[in-house]
């Protein structure tokens, strides 16, 4: 399978995501100005600061030509993973419900966090076990997930709350400790922590993030856990 990883001028973690994806399949970078997704089976919108993230994180990036194609791709059921800034972009593009606000501590914060898998049946977590704990680093200033109560209730009942910060790990003040959510259809997933930075024990001591990429491969290739 082939991952396409978007690259904005201000992307920072796109090469990390590319290399992480290459551990489970092929992967290629896609320039923000291009509408051609190069036949990708899944898209990663990576971390960083897309267009400088002035105004609001992701606000400008969502209008890029590449994102227009990603919106169509998602509408056709294609898998789209948004990491950190990518999550913000997907929310701004309304591919995911809710919004990401300034961390409650008002600081950029980098910390290894423990995440609980709330739904291991979906396209992005099928390589995980239910309630499994993943050790993955998070690093952001705008990671406080917010959605209105009705939306949250609906998301909860339809299994869209995928990852949650383990007790004591939610430094950004996200509602209900939410770390990662998917859309109703289950083919678009965003999370603030960085799975691409937890794919090699040598670098950071955890390879738990690989499970996300592995799950996507299984989904695309029709493998069931």
């Amino acid at each position: 399978m082939k991952f396409g990883v978007l690259r904005f001028p201000g992307s920072c973690d796109e090469v990390d995501a590319l290399e992480a994806a290459r551990r489970v399949g092929d992967a290629e970078l896609i320039w923000h100005g291009s509408r051609d997704l190069k036949g990708s089976d899944a898209i990663v919108v990576p971390g960083g600061f897309s267009y400088g993230d002035y105004l609001r994180a992701g606000a400008i990036a969502r209008f890029s030509p590449a994102m227009e194609s990603v919106i169509d791709f998602a509408a056709d059921g294609g898998l789209v993973l948004g990491i950190c800034n990518g999550f913000q972009v997907l929310c701004e593009a309304r591919l995911l419900p809710g919004a990401l606000l300034a961390n409650e501590n008002l600081h950029f914060t980098f910390r290894q966090v423990e995440l609980e898998v709330l739904n291991s049946g979906g396209a992005f977590t099928r390589a995980c076990a239910l309630d499994q704990c993943l050790s993955i680093p998070a690093k952001h200033s705008w990671g406080r997930y917010h959605a209105d109560p009705d939306t949250l209730a609906a998301m909860d009942s339809s299994g869209q709350l995928i990852l949650r910060y383990a007790p004591g790990q939610n430094f950004n003040g996200s509602l209900h400790d939410i770390a990662g959510v998917c859309n109703e259809r289950g083919n678009v997933f965003g999370l603030m922590p960085h799975p691409e930075h937890a794919v090699d024990e040598l670098i950071g001591g955890s390879a738990d993030g690989l499970k996300i990429f592995e799950s996507m491969r299984m989904t695309v290739e029709g493998v069931h856990a």
Binding site: L55, R56, A59, A99, A102, N103, N105, L106, R144, D148
Partner: protein, 77 residues
């Protein structure tokens, strides 16, 4: 025409920046301050003022979490 857009966190959404200012002011000797909110200010020249609302909806504000208010600053030009 010069226009000003005031963008504020929607009521009911935690505003940690406002809270931080509210906490800091008494420590600096400013008493009697309350209900502090911090938002964004965008000022710009526009030719067509009818564009301001869609601009806010699409880019300048995020209507899910922010309210905005448009002010026209002068009639000229």
């Amino acid at each position: 025409m010069r226009a000003r857009v005031l963008i504020r966190p929607k009521a009911g959404i935690l505003d940690p920046q406002g809270a931080a200012v509210e906490r800091a002011l008494p420590a600096l000797g400013f008493a009697g301050v309350g209900n502090v909110h911090v938002g964004r200010l965008v000022e710009l020249d526009v030719e067509n003022e009818a564009q301001l609302q869609p601009m806010c909806e699409r880019l300048l504000a995020n209507p899910l979490v922010e309210d905005y208010e448009v002010q026209l600053l002068d009639g000229g030009s």
